[in-house]
């Protein structure tokens, strides 16, 4: 019989005998019940340890990356950047998987065999991070370092949007990459990515472009952002012609 099933049956009997409210009131008068039980368990355990000659084994608390960092005294350069990376590491924002740690270490010239747990990874990362130049640390602090499935959805959307802009006769797109709608498209892509509502390649939605951000888009095509819009624009024009 399950322990809580037994407890339920007992409580049924008690409640049937004394009533629900009386039982609750009595229970609330027993605030130290848990502590007393704990004390009994502890004393029993202590007695068993003394009799058997075993020693109490306490499991050491797992140190976070920030804990490890604060215990290290030899960080003299770029301490702030390393601290920021340690904080991101604890939040699983920096090197989120053990594979990413291995990749980072390999890319830093130290291949560690047998690293199987992410939590022990920072111990290997720290000596490498300490040696890195400050500008590289700054770049790491702001970049992603995840080797898992690539986020190709936003990229695919940006490529498609660039193609549409070019088909609409935006000649500047082909000669000046930085001053164009592409900029806005990429920013749009970033916003989409930040909102985490980007789509995967398999379930890609159309990604309407905010035409107000386009400096060089011909006015006549302002409302045409995808094939669906093109069709609806054509339908609208047809119905307008019919009405006229």
């Amino acid at each position: 019989m399950k322990r809580n099933a037994f407890l339920t049956r007992l409580l049924h009997t008690i409640v049937a005998e004394y009533g629900h409210e009386e039982v609750l009131r009595t229970l609330s008068d027993l605030p130290h019940a848990d502590e007393r039980r704990e004390r009994i368990t502890q004393s029993k355990r202590q007695a068993w340890l003394e009799q058997s000659g075993h020693r109490e084994v306490t499991k050491p608390k797992r140190l976070t990356a920030v804990d490890q960092l604060t215990k290290t005294s030899d960080i003299t350069v770029s301490g702030e950047e390393i601290f920021a990376l340690a904080t991101r590491f604890d939040r699983k924002e920096f090197l989120p998987t053990v594979g990413d740690i291995r990749e980072f270490l390999a890319m830093s010239g130290s291949i560690v065999e047998g690293l199987t747990s992410r939590s022990e990874g920072f111990r290997y990362l720290l000596p490498v991070l300490v040696k890195l130049p400050p500008e590289r640390l700054k770049r790491l602090a702001t970049s992603n370092s995840y080797s898992g499935p690539s986020q190709l959805g936003p990229l695919a959307d940006a490529i498609r949007s660039a193609g549409e802009a070019m088909r609409r006769g935006d000649q500047k797109l082909t000669t000046d990459a930085d001053a164009l709608p592409l900029k806005d498209m990429l920013e749009d892509t970033d916003r989409a990515s930040t909102r985490k509502n980007h789509t995967t390649l398999g379930q890609r939605k159309t990604h309407p472009i905010d035409d107000k951000n386009f400096n060089n888009v011909p006015d006549s095509d302002e409302s045409v952002t995808n094939a669906g819009d093109l069709k609806s624009t054509a339908n609208r024009k047809t119905s307008e012609a019919e009405q006229a």
Binding site: G99, A106, V128, A179
Partner: protein, 284 residues
């Protein structure tokens, strides 16, 4: 310490697509840096930018959004106006290059010149693109590298010529399938034309690597694959191109290990057999 006679520059090319150029480029670049301790530069000349995505993985999106410089700016020869400068500025050695790996002990690194999907459109818009731009940029800034690997687009264009100008060796990946050798005569013609137009430039095919990416189905690909292999051998011999002994097997591990994800490698680890044959063959 840098090589006294400059870097070994190899372009990975086949005028047929889907033969594994970007995968092989990414893996050779990684292997050269991590396993052989070489100072490496990978150049992505393919507007599809698969090599860039493989080496930069999720940071590639940041690279696009932050409008960091790429191969496009190297071909333009300047840095366009941006939020930090309101007029075009000249390129520095650090422009157009991303550091993928850096060994603080040896000072060696794996760097990448990333590509963008609007690369070919940018070149088409230029009046007269200069195919020697890349070679000039690399010799001016990256003479200290040990190994430069260039991933080419699968079409004959100014980008192909730019790759030829920037390297001395050509690696040709090929898949044993019905259309396998279609790219061979095109590539040979392209190389002959280049040699004729650039008499002083020596460029050789260092080898053909067979990307045996067939799922063998228990019969090693069957008679069609056998016929294709024979075809490849005949064509390669006709052009005096050596074939590497170690073929690349079919493995689901390739897409993972090319981007540094070692969660599953499978047969893809046999790539290292090819790498151990390739590097001595090119003099590294």
């Amino acid at each position: 310490m840098a090589r006294t006679n400059g870097p070994i520059s190899v372009c990975v090319i086949n005028l047929k697509g889907g033969v594994g150029k970007s995968t092989i480029s990414a893996l050779l670049a990684r292997h050269a840096y991590t396993r052989r301790g070489l100072d490496v530069l990978a150049v992505d000349l393919d507007p599809q930018a698969n090599l860039s995505q493989a080496l930069m993985h999720s940071d590639y999106n940041n690279f696009l959004v932050q409008k960091r410089t790429s191969i496009v700016e190297i071909f333009h020869g300047y840095r366009p106006p941006s939020s930090s400068s309101l007029s075009p500025t000249s390129l520095s050695a650090q422009d157009g290059v991303e550091t993928i790996g850096f060994n603080p002990t040896s000072g060696k690194s794996l760097q990448l010149t990333p590509s963008r999907f609007d690369f070919s459109d940018n070149l088409l818009g230029a009046v007269r693109p200069d195919p020697r731009v890349l070679a000039r940029f690399l010799t001016a800034n990256y003479g200290h590298k040990d190994f430069i690997i260039i991933d080419c687009a699968p079409t004959e264009s100014i980008l192909t010529t730019a790759a030829y100008h920037a390297c001395g060796l050509v690696l040709v990946p090929v898949k044993p399938e019905y259309f396998a050798t279609i790219g061979f005569p095109l590539l040979q013609e392209s190389l002959v034309n280049f040699r004729n137009q650039n008499r002083g430039h020596r460029i050789d095919v260092c080898g053909v690597v067979i990307n045996n990416a067939f799922y063998d189905g228990g019969n090693d690909g069957g008679p069609e694959k056998a016929a294709s292999i024979t075809d490849i051998q005949t064509q390669a011999a006709a052009n005096h191109w050596p074939i590497f002994v170690n073929q690349l097997p079919h493995s689901r591990g390739f897409p993972k290990i090319m981007r540094g994800n070692n969660s599953y490698s499978g047969n893809a680890t046999r790539f290292y057999d090819f790498a151990n044959e390739f590097f001595p063959a090119v003099g590294l």
